[in-house]
Amino acid sequence: MTGPAHADTGAAVEVSGLVHRFGDAAAVDGLDLTVPAGEVVGLLGPNGAGKTTTLRVITTLLPVQEGRVTVLGLDVARSATRIRRRLGYVPQQLSVEGALTGRQNVTWFARLYDVPRRERDARVDELLAAMDLRDAADRLASGYSGGMIRRLELAQALVARPDLLILDEPTVGLDPIARDGVWDRVRRMQQEHGMTVLLTTHYMEEADELCDTVALMHRGRLAAVGSPARLKADLGVGATLEDVFRHHAGVDLAPGSNDTAEKKGLRDVRRSRATARKLG
């Protein structure tokens, strides 16, 4: 693979003036964001802040309605396929094919990303081992736990060695041990391969633990950006990211952390339950 195309600007993702509306409601409302290459950047914000919509524009799943977005030096409005080739994406829902084994699930994505045939098996094995799924590799994914499914999804997203890994709420709904397992693997893969990671979360610990930079989003805009340490230090000794968020946005970050009252949240919950049923 040739050198990263974004080397000249040093940014893996550049978003300027992004607006995205669903009907009359603006989910993203004038967002400016730079994701430096090689960093782990977290988009932090409550439900409905526009995090997932932003990710979907960056992953080329949603069109750019207004503003400009470049990913790895390429304009998403014009070079969607070229961007997709260099992107790994794990959506919020646990989504693997339960009727396939873990190995089949990863091999499938290796094919979709054109991993050369002679490298394919070795690459799939390598990823399954890195995600600690070697023993379960030939069992149906329908028997996997939530943590295992998420790790399997990381294997799928990483099998083509992407330059940019995008994770939408990677540990939502996982127990603390499974969460640690996911964080651990993301960090290790990032250190080994030097890729850029962009994730969304509404967990404080996740942002603190994983991210070099956090971007606080509120009502479709950027409220503050910086390293977790600096953002907290700016507020004074003993401040938490929660305090930082309250300071910049004037509201709590995660009222109860599982606020499902709004429509989109409810739909997601229904979908996750349906997925859980399907996976058995």
């Binding site: 799943l61 390429l74 994406y89 829902q93 009727a99 499938w108 094919r111 990303y113």
Partner: protein, 271 residues
Amino acid sequence: MSVAVAPPRASWAEARGSVRTLASRTGALSLVELQKLRHDHTELLTRTVQPLLWLLVFGQVFGRLRAIPTGNVPYLAYLTPGILAQSALFVAIFFGIQIIWDRDAGILTKVMATPTPRQAIVAAKAFAAGVRGLSPVVVLIPVALLLGVGVTANPLKILLAAVAIMLGSGFFACLSMAIAGLAGTRDRLMGFGQVITMPLFFASNALYPIDVMPTWLQVVSRVNPLSYLVDALRGQLVGTPAHLTVDFAVLVGSTVVGIVVAGSLLGRLVR
């Protein structure tokens, strides 16, 4: 890296490349569909019950009535290919549910974020519908033979009939996926499916010849791809005069159009 417009000279190579990508992605996704099918034996069996009833009950009774002019072909022999086509239609017309299901499970979103053409996603589902459309044949043909229908033993003719069934199922699956793209939800898709299934079936030559229909119905029947599937099957399996070239041209053409249209509507599902 600049995003300069590609020089026109490169467009042929690009077109070849995209055809290759389309083929290899369709292959990868079809393989997954086959792997999924292996865990789905009950469905294959339950799907044969309804067409069996059509053959055993409807076919036997109407065969005795001799109410339908089928020339020198016994009614049961006339009906058998129609019921095969019908079972393919019934399997395929709700296939869009699978796309909606994949969307709801987050799988469609993930696949669409990979460098995979939308048409490959649709084509692989159409292929899966084709395989499912074929499965009732394995039960229905032996039953038809037991009932005394003279089904061909020529392997080439059987192969052509199988290809026709796969194409027909593929087309109706694409129609269903296009509706899924427009309808967006499972409930609405089911509703549309219910509404169009029976008209598609009755406005075809599956149960009776086109000649006995009123003129307006003849027109509908002639634009209905199901009629061409039935014609091809009848010609191959029980040896009635058929129009193979036209039949296959219509089936291939409508499947290709179906893949393109359904593929272009797919993006609506992940917005």
